[in-house]
Symmetry: C2
Subunit: 186 residues, 2 copies
DNA sequence: TACAACCCTACAACTTCAATAGGGTTATAG
DNA sequence: CTATAACCCTATTGAAGTTGTAGGGTTGTA
């Protein structure tokens, strides 16, 4: 489950779109994204097109065009995005649901490696399939506010629209905070 | 954390060595392993050499040579083996302990993606760093016996030695059984 | 009608993966 | 003592994937 750069950029972009929507200005231009995140513009363009083709984003063409979320962030599963970009989550094909393939071992049913990797698969899925984009955005916003960091994507003078909607109180689901000393080496 | 073929073969081989030791015949030849597991002999040779260089295996040269475990299986962490072969477990370098690298995002401390990936990292490590080769071997043996599958690596006529040692009762740690219907798609 | 923005395809440099090739060295058996 | 089975070692290779870059084409607004 090594996340590719492509996958990383895709998720970073989606989180930005979620943030932007939350801040009342859902439409972002590719150039704004590359400015904030510092990544190659043509590469990001390809990724955004892929996300659009998959139904996560929609676009506006022409002079003041850009991209924005096509679906409510509560409805976008991180796991599905990762699958779209990087393929199955399972570390080995013989424990994958979406891309099962018999492996070369003689007795799959009694393969210790397979039992182990099934655990890993489930652990990954339990995180990535439970969290939605909305969860990630919410946690990010909370942390930004807590640390009084200036929020990104300030309202544009001309395109400012209805201010941030009141947010539904979601289950927080508790993402780990990276700061406290981590016990396990990885 | 996609496991490479190399990593897969390495773990399969180590499990076989663990099984073989448990069955009182720790030394296996490369040809026996490839016969049981059906994998390319020259490739496996390279992998076994790497495992030897890392201290997991030792070897006997000459006519009746072969490889065997160099350390007690309780002492071999699956996570460490995976790291040796496939590199860090973390899906993204900025949450890795053993290979931390600053990522390109502007504010690592408030990066939602990073928080998420830290959870994934910890979930993977909680499995792979807790399980030892001994655990995997034990679970495999139990399952083989339960289903009355003939045990592999029958004692050779000439080289038969002291029969299986009495096993210390280990914590089972419960590896998932792949058979029951799995709830989450991965 | 000019320009800013998205749209699309091709390809290239690089790396990794999964082997394959081709021997060299050692120790046992006979 | 010598043949042989087994491990030891290095190099190379073909395919695939990754990470972009290049070069425009199309659309809609000012």
């Amino acid at each position: 489950m090594k996340l590719s750069k492509r996958g990383e950029y895709a998720l970073r972009a989606l989180i930005d779109f979620g943030l932007a929507q939350e801040l009342g200005r859902p439409l972002l231009q590719v150039s704004e994204l590359t400015a904030k995140e510092g990544l190659p513009i043509k590469f990001l363009e390809q990724i955004l097109m892929q996300l659009k083709a998959a139904g996560y984003l929609e676009s506006r063409r022409g002079k003041h065009g850009g991209y924005l979320l096509a679906r409510p962030p509560e409805n976008i599963s991180v796991g599905q995005v990762v699958r779209l970009i990087d393929g199955p989550l399972a570390p080995i094909a013989c424990v994958s649901q979406t891309a099962y393939e018999r492996c070369s071992c003689p007795d799959e049913e009694h393969c210790g490696l397979r039992m182990l990797m099934l655990d890993v698969r489930n652990a990954i899925s339990n995180i990535l399939d439970r969290f939605t984009l909305a969860d990630v955005v919410e946690v990010t916003m909370r942390k930004l506010r807590k640390d009084k960091v200036p929020l990104p994507f300030a309202l544009e003078p001309l395109l400012a629209r209805s201010s941030a909607r009141p947010k539904s109180a979601k289950r927080p689901k508790k993402l780990n905070d990276p700061s406290p000393a981590e016990k396990v080496s990885i």
